[in-house]
């Protein structure tokens, strides 16, 4: 492995910042280091490039222990881009890119024409030719970042470490920047990046390191690492992990967990059994909050937003193929489930021919039913009145209650007796 660390522990005074970290970084990958503030990301980066020296464990670069390498040899192998750069004296863009050649030019020699060629090629590659005589401090944040990267690339190192390089960049620059990094990875450079934005990381990094309190929680391919469980462990927040339909990469949607206290069941009490008739994304605000109940969802079509959500939340789902009407077998399944539930919730969903069966089955049930109603049924009826008739009949029954807002709904569930 070109760069690896073995059992690294690092402390500032008495505070242990890195705890027994072992990682290997190989060619052909873009590595993202993720973790909350103070988890040791930047420290890890600084240990990897030899700026901080760890007392325990070692960093090995190309078979050499980094502690035994001198500064200029390290610089030839590892280039670093720090979080943000501000300078008190203004240098021109060209002068700054030239600084990256420091180790390649002897102290007492002048820049050769070969060196000038390298610099000009870099300036061209980064579209900096027009800016080459501009002062660094007169550039925009995105342009400055570009200059600093060009300087790092000028070092011609095989390993590039970046500390939150996208933090001060606009969205378009972030994407441009990350795509540039991918290009370097394809050229055979190992790129390791400390990054805050989980979605940016999962979109562009193929390997992820998760850090928490100085320990590696997980390390591997992004699909295996970016999971609901891991992110909850790291950030203490519930997220939904989804696949980006355009790029096939994954992305997360964070949402806060705020259960009413009594909905968290004790270990000795049984969770409430709730069935939800969902569809069309109508339950996106309800499903996540029923986390501690025994929830079943259906009947919904596969690929429906509510299906995807329920799937992520690991709820039981009764499903049908996309756009097809409800079959007898799923009707039977639903009836069986409804026999054992404590509560049925009918979400504010539109009715068509394909999902009308749900309403009919509910009409036969004598369990406790809540109609969650935000819009009148007439507006949601695409069955020329059939749904409205059944719905109104249902509404008049004694085991049925109509609720209009989320707050009341959750209060109702909370106050429900088992």
């Amino acid at each position: 492995m070109p760069i690896e660390c073995e059992n690294i522990s690092f402390n500032y005074w008495t505070k242990l910042v890195l705890k027994d970290i072992s990682l290997q970084f190989g060619k052909g990958h873009l590595y993202g280091i993720l973790g909350p503030n103070g988890s040791g990301k930047t420290t890890l980066l600084k240990v990897l490039c030899g700026i901080l020296k760890s007392k325990y464990g070692q960093v090995v670069v190309d078979e050499f222990n980094i502690k035994k390498m001198n500064i200029s040899d390290i610089a030839k192998k590892i280039a670093v881009v720090e979080q943000s750069t501000s300078i008190d004296f203004d240098y021109s863009v060209k002068e700054i890119v030239k600084m990256g050649r420091f180790t390649h030019i002897g102290r007492f020699s002048k820049e050769t024409s070969e060196e000038k060629k390298i610099i000009n090629e870099l300036l061209e590659q980064f579209n900096l030719i027009e800016l080459e005589n501009r002062g660094f401090n007169t550039l925009s944040g995105g342009e400055q970042q570009k200059v600093i990267i060009a300087r790092a690339i000028a070092q011609q190192s095989k390993i590039l470490l970046l500390d939150e390089p996208t933090t001060h960049l606009d969205l378009n620059y972030q994407i441009e920047f990350m795509e540039r990094l991918r290009k370097y990875v394809n050229d055979g450079i190992i790129v390791i990046i400390v990054i805050h934005d989980v979605n940016l990381a999962t979109q562009f990094c193929d390997k992820i390191v998760l850090l928490k309190e100085g320990r590696v929680i997980a390390f591997g391919n992004r699909e295996e690492i970016i999971t609901r469980k891991n992110l909850k462990l790291i950030y203490n927040i519930d997220v939904i992990v989804r696949k980006n339909p355009f790029s096939n990469s994954i992305y997360i949607i964070p949402h806060k967990i705020e259960f009413p206290t009594s909905m968290r069941y004790d270990n000795n009490s049984k969770p409430k059994k709730i069935h939800i008739v969902a569809g069309g994304g109508a339950t996106s605000k309800i499903l996540p909050k029923l986390n501690d109940c025994d929830v079943s969802v259906g009947i919904v079509n596969v690929l429906d937003d509510d299906y995807i959500l329920a799937n992520e939340l690991n709820y039981k789902i009764i499903s049908e193929a996309p756009f097809s009407p409800i079959t007898d077998s799923s009707s039977e399944e639903l009836k069986t489930i409804l026999k054992n539930v404590d509560l049925i919730i009918l979400a504010n969903i539109p009715f068509g021919i394909t999902n009308l069966k749900n309403l009919e089955i509910l009409n036969e049930s004598n369990k406790k039913i809540v109609l969650f109603e935000r819009n009148p049924i007439e507006e949601r009826d695409f069955t020329e009145g059939i749904a409205t008739t059944i719905y109104n009949n249902l509404k008049s029954k004694s085991n049925v209650k109509t609720i209009n807002n989320l707050h009341d709904l959750f209060n109702f569930i909370e106050s429900m007796e088992e």
């Binding site: 490039c49 500064i71 670093v80 004296f89 240098y91 002068e95 420091f102 180790t103 070092q155």
Partner: protein
Amino acid sequence: MNQIKKLVLIFIFFFLFLSIIIALSIGSVQIEFFKILAIILDQIGFPIDEIWTSGEQVIILELRLPRVLMSVVVGAMLAVAGVAAQGLFRNPIVDPYIIGIASAAGCGVSLCVVLGFASLLGLFTIPLVSFLFAMLAIIIIYKLSQTRYRMSMTVLLLAGIAFSFFFSAFTSFILYFSEEKVHYILSYLMGSFWGTSWVDLYIVFIVMIPGTIILYFYGRDLNIMVFGDDNAQSIGVNVEQSKRIILIIMTLLTSTAVAFCGSIGFVGLIIPHFMRLLVGSDNRKLIPYSAVGGGLLLLWADVLARNLISPLEIPVGIFTALLGGPFFVYLVVQKKKSGELM
């Protein structure tokens, strides 16, 4: 603007040479311009008929020439030390005087003179004591201002001011108990080129030339250090070593200047600033041009100092301070306007 810059840079060397000749011709005794040229050419070895009196020759060669050259060399030293200090401390409003090096050196020299050790080790006693005191001050100030991650400018300036006051107070204390040497020490402390000998010039010269050359070769390091220590190290600069070397050279240049000419402040502040406007921040351009600029400034300051109310002499340090004080305020105001003061 660029054209003007280039012209200035091309002519600045020529202008320095011309200034030296003109400065030689100015003084209480009028000596014609061509006579000065003739005397110098004769000295260098050209066979020229003696059209000057021997008195004129003595005035030019023994009095004015060493003094004029001394002002140029000391000006260059102070300006180059200023470039180094600003680069090292990553701050454009620092110079070796502001951070207390000069008062430490001055204090050392005063102590040496009062205690009668001035020639204990021959000619080099005073420069050596001056250097040791300055080094002591700079090491303490440097260590104090170095926090874990970066240099704290606030601590640096505060510690510098504190040291300035401390050493000035100590110098006053020495002066208070040294009746017969008070005038000598006072006029020395105010900064003057009065009574410069060729030997003095040689010593200063052999410090200035290698010092400037070494700093020039560390110009790239200084450039990169603008990004901060960690960054500079990741680019490949051996920051600790480079800093140490630059710090020692800077202190050596400053303390030598102080040892021979007293404190002449603000040259190291004004000249690097002015030259940065002309050549940019690249220290490998800034160092040589600042050397020339510093030479020019002190040369003319000294001409004024010895001729303005001739035959009385005004200490040259007073002139540079009169020029530098307002300039420093101007810089602070500029920095304040751009909202980046410290």
